[in-house]
Structure formats: C-alpha cells, structure tokens
Symmetry: none
Subunit: 236 residues, 4 copies
C-alpha cells in the first residue's frame, strides 16, 4: 500500500470516527481498524492522535465547499438573488442529504466545542464565507448602517441557517415527521429564511426609538458575554 493511500484512508476513517464520537471517545484502534491499517500507522504518519485530528479537520472542509460552490454571479445580479443563493448554499452545505457526511458533523462539533483546530477552520472557511454575506448585506441596507448592525444582521441570517444544522435531533422531536417531510426540505427552508430576512432588512433602517421600552419588566442586570473560549487542546 502506498504511503499516500494509507494516509488518505486513515484520514477518511478518522473523519467518520471523530465526527461520530468526538475527540476523546474516538480511539486510534477504531480508526485504524476501520481504515484497515496497522495500529501504529497513525503515530507513524501523523505523530500522535492530536495531530491526526488537526489533519482531519483540515482535510474535512474541502469536500462540502467544493460540492456546493457559490454560483458565479453576473454584474447585474441583484443583491436579493445573491442573498437567496447564499442562504441556499449555506443550508446545502450544512444539512446532510441522506446520511450526514462526516465533514459537516465534524465542523459543527468544532464550532460548538472548539479545539485548536477551530482557528484554521475560521480563517480558511468561515471568515471568507461570512465576509461574503456582509458584502451582500451592505448592498441591501442603508448607507449609514453601522458595522456592528451589519454584523448582527449577518448573525441573524446565519443563526437561522445553523439552527437547522445544530438542532436536528430536537427538531425531529418538536415537529411531526410528516411535516418535516413536506415542509422542511432544504429548498423550502432556504425560501423561508430568505423571505423572512429580506422582509426585515428592507425596513431595518427604521430603528425603533427605544426598543427596550417595550419590555414589560425593566432590565435590572446587565449581562456581558463572558469570554469562555477555552481554545485548548482537544479533549472532548
């Protein structure tokens, strides 16, 4: 077996096992047995479990991105269409068709419980994707919209998409199976999110005078988002 073939088989097997079980619960034995290679191969080719994991992450986000590329837009493509495309592509990449590809699972795992590998993930994959969204939004909102408002708009859109990725198990317990089949296809979800978001964006510059005044109870505590980014070595 060639060296290249061995490493690629390990990476493929590792991707599935890491995605299914997480870093800690995945065992090198499982991976090597699934890849049908020697137990010592991982350490030989990748050094240790940790570096195999990072290599797996790097290897991971190639497939979905290339499988569902952003369409080539013309000069005259409207920002609404671009947003619709963006949402469609984002959902397609996230929601597995048929069986879940391990790449998606693994990336979601990284985002919720980040390890060292998350930095690379963000830099190479998420950051550009999010910047693309911001550039589309900028064409849709009023000139004077602030950067942080734009960011929040972006998060509102991404948040709606991610919901269907993260919460699939919960989703299936909240909604009838039948309704999922009929009304929650990727296409329909993309339409809904696009529709919902465009409605909000169109009128977004009409800022409320004092939005907090509509709360029924005064807010007594001010919570700041704690920095809990324990971006350490993977252990989960």
């Amino acid at each position: 077996m060639s060296q290249e073939e061995t490493t690629s088989r390990i990476l493929e097997a590792a991707g599935q096992v890491f995605a299914d079980r997480g870093f800690k619960a995945a065992t090198i034995r499982d991976i090597c047995s699934k890849a049908d290679v020697n137990l010592a191969s991982v350490n030989y080719h990748f050094g240790d479990k940790q570096r195999l994991y990072i290599a797996t992450i790097k290897h991971a986000h190639q497939l979905p991105s290339s499988q569902f590329p952003i369409p080539q837009w013309h000069a005259e493509t409207s920002p609404e269409t671009k947003l619709a495309d963006f949402i469609q592509v984002t959902l397609s990449r996230m929601i597995p068709k048929g069986k879940a590809p391990w790449q998606a699972k693994l990336m979601m795992r990284e985002m919720t419980q980040p390890t060292l590998a998350v930095q690379e993930l963000i830099k190479e994959y998420i950051r550009p994707h999010f910047d693309l969204l911001l550039s589309i939004l900028r064409q849709l909102v009023a000139k004077q919209t602030s950067e942080q408002q734009l960011t929040k708009l972006g998060f509102s859109i991404i948040g709606q998409c991610l919901f269907y990725r993260f919460n699939q198990p919960v989703l299936h317990m909240l909604v009838d199976e039948e309704m999922v089949d009929q009304h929650f296809s990727i296409e329909q979800l993309a339409q809904h999110i696009t529709h919902f978001s465009l409605l909000a964006i169109r009128h977004f510059t009409e800022e409320p005078n004092d939005p907090s005044s509509i709360l029924s109870t005064p807010i007594t505590e001010q919570y700041s988002i704690g920095t809990e980014s324990n971006t350490n070595l993977p252990e989960n």
Copy 2:
C-alpha cells in the same frame, strides 16, 4: 456532611466538568476533586458515571428556568412586548453570566449530541418554551397563517437566539473584543433580534409569488433532512 449537601456539591461539580469536557473526557476524579468529596462518593450516591450524568442533566435545566422566569403578563400586554420579553428571557437563559454558566453549555451539548437524557429535556423544558413562543406569534401574524409557517417563524427566532449560544467561540473570533463588549450585551442582542423579527413578521403574510425564482441557479436536487438522531448512551 449531610447527604443532600454531598450530592448537590457533586452535581454542581459534575455539571461544570461535563459541560467543559463532555461525557467521555470528563473524569470522576476531576469531578470529585472539584467537589471536594471522596472518589467513591459518586458511585455511592449515583451508582455510576452514566447515572451521574443523567442526574446532572436533569439538575441542569432547573436552575436557569427558575432563575429567569417568564414575566407575569397582564391581559392588556401587547404581543410585541411579550415577544420582546420572550427573547430577552431566552437569551438570558442561554448565555451564561459569571455565576453558573455550565447549565447552558451542558444543555447545548445535549441538543447537538443528544443522549437518552434529551427526551426528558425536551418534554419538560423545551417543548413548553417553544409552545409559548408559538402562542405569542399567533397573535402577531395573520389568521390564515398555517401551522408550518408559524413553526418556521418560531425557528427563525429561536435560531437567532441559539446562534449566540452555540457559536460563542466562533463569535469571539469573528468580532473584535471591543465590539463584543460594547454592542453584544444580552440586552442589545435581545433588542436586535426583537426588532429584526418584528419587522419580518409584520410583513410576513405578503408571500412572495415565487421565491425560488430569485435564485440565480435552478435547484436540481431536492434534499430531505436526514434523520441522524442517534439517541444512544453518551460516549462523547
């Protein structure tokens, strides 16, 4: 030390460790050491690691719910105010503040990688919460809005809230620390989401004639959401 105190200290410590590391990577040694109890206490009081985990999950979603209750609404409280309250409470429960941040983390872990405990979680905690949201939305939308449209609206709102829970690590890498401090407090996020969502909802009944037509490329494949809910024993 009383039995109750011991178990509660174990639960508190277990919550933090399970939330930080996941089931598999968490060790009873860590938990007992953090709780300052004997290593054998867990087995004495809970039987084994698994049952401690389930007890911890159950224990977890009692605190935030009671800590941030839904305010008592009057008869004349407007649905807009109710929605604002709902979003405020939801965010408060989800985004950890200094004191006891692990409950939220643990529940998110359960939702993304559900174990057997998730069913109880949904029944006792999530389902009622989501039903409350639906009842508020029903007062805001047109009469003829279908059940599945309402559900998607609910998901769009919940999705925006959850985003800030799931993706906190990523968030902190996409946004400047300074901007987070100034513009991403729970209050401000609640305002944004409320504002964004109300704008969309107000105009929601104006259905687009053919929303998919604005896509730049025809959709060729129809993706169904695969059921990948392997609700097994925890191992990650």
Copy 3:
C-alpha cells in the same frame, strides 16, 4: 432485632455465601443483604471479614455431626459392623441429600484450601473422627501392624469416601446420570467401600515380598511430599 438474632442470621447467611463463593469472592454486602441486616453489622458484631469467616467455620461443623451421629455400639458389636457404620456415617455427613448444606461445602473448601480456621476444624472434628477409625481398624488387623501401616489403611478408607465428596462434578461427567441414580446411592456406596476395604484388610498382613518389583519400570526419582501447608490468612 435482638443481638443474638442478628449474629445468628449473619452466620447463616455468611455460611451459604462463603460456601458458594469462597472467602475472597464473598462480599460483606452480599452477606448482609442476604441476612437482611445493616452493612456495618458484620464489622460491629464480628470485627472484620476474617473473624466472621472463622466464626462461620466454627458455627459450621455443628450441624452435620449432630445430624448423623455415630451409633451407640454395644460391647459385642463386631469391628466389621463398626467399620460399616463408620463408613456409612462418614458418607452421610459428606454427601448432601437434596441440596448441599453449606456446612459440608465450607468444610471441604477448608480442607482443600485451608485457612487459619482449618486447625480448629481438625482438632475438634477431624482428628477425633479419624482416631475412631484407627481404633476400629486396630481390631481388624494383625497385632504387629505398624502405626504407619494403620494410618495408610485409614487413609485408603477415608480416601474412598472423600472421593465422592470432592469429585461430584467430575463424577457426574464420567458416569451416566442413570447409573448414578441406580447404583450410586449413599447406601450402595457405603456397601461397596466397606466390602472393598474389608477384603483388603483381611489379607493385609500378607505383605508382598517386594512390592516395588512388580513395577515395569524402575523408579528413578524419589519424590518427597513437599510441605506446602500455607496455612495463612484466608484469601481465596
């Protein structure tokens, strides 16, 4: 519950558990649970597991001895009859009727894998029993029979009896179930052993000139019986 009742219930339960599982594999939890007493009772009443074991052994050999007493012999009772009685009683005490009484099991365990308790067992129970056998034999053999010849005769008889006690599992695998039922009752075995032994004893003084000469191969090595009496604390 009175103190006496508690200890006696513990002893009864301990006897069964120790007999079934041996010293090490028996757990105080099992014993206390079977006796339906508190977990700490054993240590409270007996000090520790070891002393409970010794107390159990002492408690054990009261029952079978009294249940099958040596019959009262008259002055004119023949030594042959005495031997027949002796064998009958020995077998009766050893071989359980119906379910095995734990006393027998426990004593056999002690004899094969002796602990500290074995000394008491020998002194109070085995030594007198064996001395009785020797006294019977002395009436059956020639005057000039040496002490060690007599001892070996005794062992030959005891050995035949013990065989059916120790090797019951093996016995049942070597012999048809049907044959066991028909021909291996205690009565029949006693008859056989008595018959066999009396035949040998009657002619025993006719010593062979050189018994070792009938061996087909010369004995090259002389093995001495190693003293492996590790009469230590019970640990098995």
Copy 4:
C-alpha cells in the same frame, strides 16, 4: 522478548498464582509482577483475566501428563504390573514435587469448584486416564463383573490416590512430620495403594450375601447424590 516467551512466562506465573489463591483472589498485578512483564500484557495477549484463566488451565494439564507418561507395556505385561504402574504414574502426576507443583493444585481446584474449563479437562485428560484404569481392572476381575461394579472399583483406587492430593494440608496435621518423611513417599504410597487394592480386587467377586446387614442400625433414609455441579464462570 518474543511473543511466545512472554505468553509462556505469563502462563507459568498465572498457574502458580491461580493455584495458590484461586481465580478471584489472584490479581493480574501479582501475575505480571511474578512473570516480570508489563501489567497490560495479559490483556494484550489473552484479552482478559477470564480467558487467561482458561488458557492457564489448558496449559496446566499438558505438562504433568507429558512429564510422567504411562510406560510402554509389552504384550506379556501382567495386569498387576499395569495397575502398579498406573497408580505410580497417577500419584506422581498428582503430588507435586519441587519444580512445578502448581499444575496439580490448579486441576484439583478445578475439580472441586469447577468452572467452564473443567469440561475440556475431563474430555482431554481425565476421561482417557480413567478409561485406561478400567481396561486394566477388567483383566483383573471376574468376567461377570458388571460395569458399575468396575466403575466403583476404579473410584476406590482413584479415591485413594486423590486423597493424598486433596488433603495434603490435613495430612500434614494428622501425621508427624517425621513419619511423612519416612513412610509417605510417592513410592511407598504407590506400593500401599497397589497392595491394598489388589488384595481387595482378587477377592472381589465373592460378593457379600447382604452387606447392609452388618450395619448396626437399619438405614431409614435413602440418599441420592444431589447434582450440585454449578459449572459457572469462575468467581472464587
């Protein structure tokens, strides 16, 4: 160190420890320490403690059988000589001499408290050995001797031999050390048992008219040998 050497050293050490302490009380740590191999070796080579035990049992009854073979008999070898040889070999195999005494101990343990391994033991080792004895006896007794009479004769001989195996600890407490040294060598014991048994066998066909009549007390109860062969997994 070669694989074979490691496993054989583990087996040797395991044999001694299991023989001394029994399955439950024996610890893998002790075995590995005695064998001077790593603690994890047992699990690597044998899977777990249980499978090591079974492997040890199998390994145990190969050595003595090959160490003390039945001599090659000529056509004209008398059955008396054969019986003498048989008893000599049986005793040699059973009574440990200095070098490797644990095999016998372990096998006796298996016979008294049988585990799953005992079946194989009987089939491969005990059954053929016993059949050999029966074939010898058949040449010594009258033609009309029944199968079950023959079996009991065999048991009487085996029983005498086994006595010195099972009851060595007790033996040493019943007999002076000095007498053991002088009169209880394997050779002497073999002579005695051979002599004793031949005497009985020669006259065996002279059945007693009613052997039970010599009992001083009528037998009131008929005891059947209970089947208490709990051939379970080892736990003692």
